[in-house]
């Protein structure tokens, strides 16, 4: 069970502005990995490099052992991509687009595509350009399922979709990935969607990877503790165990990998007066913000 995607020492600049340096990413076969990061942290850059639309300043990305800048046609047929905005050839209708793509993939499976299309309330000759965002996403999803790729690279699969479509997407994708042992590499700006889909997380922040591990591990180890300070003159931010600290007046949110005991001991050992100390359960979005900071 090797690495489907392996990025080694990836470095990229936009002009003089560094995006990241010596980034390393690996995605195992069969995993559903979500790439989380704030705007400008390099998510789109990474997706573009993976898809072969950007040459990194140095370093390489390997997909199935091939450099992503020079993928062979055989490897490309194993990869399904979703472009941000569910972009498709909008001048075609759903019949034409299926006929078009079927010609490229010998293992084309029309059944899942038509199953999805049957739920779509469109006329047979309706051009994709006249469909709503959600309907377009359904077409894009259907095409990906019909292509039956081993690796899916999805750039912001939630973009422009209402909750119903987003749920549809996630349900289908997860079902597809798990039943056929597929690999997914996805980004989305709606972290709750990611939480439902992924089982491995990769969190990027400016210039570096903050975390790459199974989602369960991350959610299990990264914690949030809330408490109130008796006096508000305190600088806990500098402490190494504090990943992040939010303070409004004397109400503190502390984010750390350490255990509850550790934190409480620290506070007591340093004579920090506090009350209402409790661990707060987090969703992925909370954890993400906690790790990367609110602003």
């Amino acid at each position: 069970m090797g690495n489907v995607i392996e990025c080694n020492n990836l470095t990229h600049y936009y002009g003089k502005k560094m995006v990241y340096e010596n980034l390393n990413i690996h995605v195992r076969e069969g995993s559903i990995l979500g790439l989380l990061g704030k705007n400008g942290s390099g998510k789109t850059t990474t997706i573009n490099i993976l898809n072969g639309f950007l040459q990194p300043r140095s370093g390489e990305c390997l997909i199935y052992g091939e450099n992503s800048q020079h993928l062979s046609p055989a490897t490309k047929s194993r990869i399904g991509i979703l472009i941000e905005g569910h972009i498709q050839y909008a001048f075609m209708n759903i019949h034409q687009i299926e006929k078009f793509y079927a010609g490229f993939y010998p293992n084309w499976k029309p059944a899942p595509y038509w199953e999805l299309m049957s739920r779509l309330k469109v006329t047979p000759t309706q051009k994709i350009s006249t469909m709503s965002c959600g309907q377009r996403s359904q077409v894009a999803l259907g095409l990906i399922l019909a292509q039956n790729p081993d690796l899916l690279i999805l750039d912001d699969f939630s973009m422009g979709l209402d909750p119903g479509y987003r749920r549809l997407f996630i349900d289908y994708l997860r079902e597809y990935a798990k039943s056929e042992y597929k690999t997914i590499f996805a980004t989305s700006h709606i972290i709750q969607d990611m939480e439902r889909l992924i089982d491995e997380v990769l969190i990027m922040d400016y210039n570096r990877v903050l975390e790459q591990c199974p989602l369960a591990d991350f959610m299990g180890s990264f914690k949030r503790f809330d408490f109130e300070l008796e006096n508000d003159l305190l600088n806990l931010k500098r402490e190494p165990f504090v990943r992040n600290l939010e303070m409004v007046k004397n109400k503190v949110e502390l984010y750390t990998y350490e255990s509850k005991e550790f934190v409480q001991n620290f506070l007591e050992n340093h004579g920090v007066g506090h009350k209402w100390f409790r661990q707060v359960k987090m969703g992925l979005e909370d954890a993400f913000i906690g790790l990367t900071g609110k602003y």
Binding site: N48, N51, G52, F53, L54, Q55, Q69, P73, A74, K76, S77, I79, I81, I83, G85, I87, Q88, Y89, A90, F91, M92, Q96, K99, F100, Y101, A102, G103, F104, Y105
Partner: protein, 222 residues
Amino acid sequence: MWKSIVFKEWLKIRWFLIAFTLFGIVVNGYLFLKVQHGFTFQGGTSFWYNILFMRYHYFDYFRYFPLLEGLVIALAQYFPETVHKRIKLTFHLPLKENNVLLMMQAFGTSCLLFSYLLLLLVFISLGSLYFPSEMVYDAIVSVIPWFLAGFVAYFFVALIVLEPSWLYRFLYSLIAGFFVNVYLKSSLISAYGPAIPVLSLLTILMSIALLFPAYRFRKGEM
């Protein structure tokens, strides 16, 4: 796989191609209607005389038509690819990127060639009704650069549309404008004769020019 490519390209250009070919036939018809009128009122002798010795250019109307057709077909074919960067889908197809582009280019060029040959055939057929083979041949020599200009316009529009940077698009457009001009200079009938071999070679070479800006796009050039 090429069948799918042909299918997609055909969907994009079919109406434009048909419309322009029909329009071209109509323009040809109009041209020779004027000739017919000239024959009726001046007489054939006078009409031939004006062409042979008075430098009358009876088909100059047609000069920019192939250029326009090439331009429009190229826009119809390549513009939809770049809206929302849809060309990414094309590059992701399980084929070598250059091969996909060359297939698209080859199809568009073939369609254009078919259209032009049809129009040329109409032109020659109608011309042969009124003029002897020498004058028809001279006319063909005169229109060939215009058809070549149509192909050049097609190749240039493809590469300009695919170029990711707006600055370079502008600069390429300038070059394209001057280059196309080389094919369309005002001239006497059949004056272009000696230049046709080199012009044809340049046109053929330009057919692969779009690979360069496409490569720049794939490397993330802005």
